[in-house]
Symmetry: C2
Subunit: 200 residues, 2 copies
């Protein structure tokens, strides 16, 4: 079995959400697994002065249209959230807290959080909502709530974000196949082809 | 025959160049023609404070890698130009000057200018180079040179750029199929599918 591929995403990112519905199936076809890495695009935007797409003049209306069109193309349920963007701090912290004990449950938590935000219009920047959602997966509600305030978990998310940026990630989704970087949901077909062919 | 599709591009854009090698073949498959519209992304960047990809912190190295990888994927000759980005003013003016007399030659001129910049590393922001290149297509060299300084042609490019932005274009390439907008070389597969299916 080859090295897992790495999937970086921000919980507020529609293209990250769409990619989350596709990436494991693509990897599995080629005998690979996927390591999921939520991180904070806000830290990227501090360095490169970009803004989230919906907030960019001229780009905003198109971005919203393209999120919805892309979701339909890939048959992914999608409802534009009332609040957009939101902070990914709380859901990302919860993810890493769970991840250190059970990687599969952490991935399920990420998928459930994404669905809560992009299908059910729940505000997953709110720690109470995150804890409610974690509880539906059998995770301890108050344990999740206090974990999101633990200094070690706060530090962990900072470290993961710094490591992602140091490796070259600056968007969501951002995928590395071995060390080959791919930015964007619209690069997943190339990820598929790269895995099939070993590159071009 | 249905309405032509509209292809907006900036002469300094690698993805615009790659798309220029693909767009007509995609349209022809579906019984469509393509209207080409060079415009100035600099005017967009003034409004939305974006910068060309190679100049964005974190993004630059990836962008350069992705230009080359995309060119290989689509089997398009590509050599990263010594000067990047450049102003598209002179080649765009020459394009519109030719276009008003002969649309097919204007398209050939655009393709030849793109090739000069992205394959032969010639600086097509230089009016002398543009006139040399126009001459290889049988266009009058000194006529091309003086056209690029004509007030009516200068005004024409401004008007085309304003019209592109008013319609919603903000990148290169940017394609409209009827009024459906598609941003990026990586959306051309969707353009193909949209033309085949009428949308989704």
């Amino acid at each position: 079995m080859s090295k897992p591929i790495d999937f970086y995403f921000d919980f507020s990112s529609p293209y990250g959400y769409i990619a989350s519905q596709r990436i494991d199936a693509i990897a599995i076809k080629h005998g690979r697994s996927v390591n999921w890495h939520p991180y904070l695009l806000g830290a990227v935007f501090k360095v490169n002065s970009r803004k989230p797409l919906p907030e960019q003049p001229l780009v905003g209306d198109y971005a919203r249209h393209d999120f919805e069109r892309s979701a339909r193309l890939y048959d992914v349920p999608f409802k534009y959230p009332t609040r957009m963007p939101i902070s990914g701090v709380s859901p990302s912290r919860a993810y890493y807290w769970v991840h250190d004990r059970d990687q599969q449950t952490a991935k399920e938590l990420a998928l459930t959080l994404y669905k809560a935000y992009f299908v059910e219009d729940r505000d997953i920047s709110n720690p109470e909502q995150v804890a409610d959602i974690a509880a539906t997966l059998g995770l301890d509600r108050s344990g999740t709530l206090s974990a999101m305030q633990e200094p070690a978990i706060k530090e962990r998310l900072k470290r993961e974000t710094d490591a992602a940026i140091a490796r070259g990630a600056f968007g969501s989704p951002f995928v590395f196949v071995d060390d080959e970087p791919f930015w964007g949901n619209d690069r997943l077909d190339q990820v598929d082809r790269w895995l099939a062919t070993g590159g071009w």
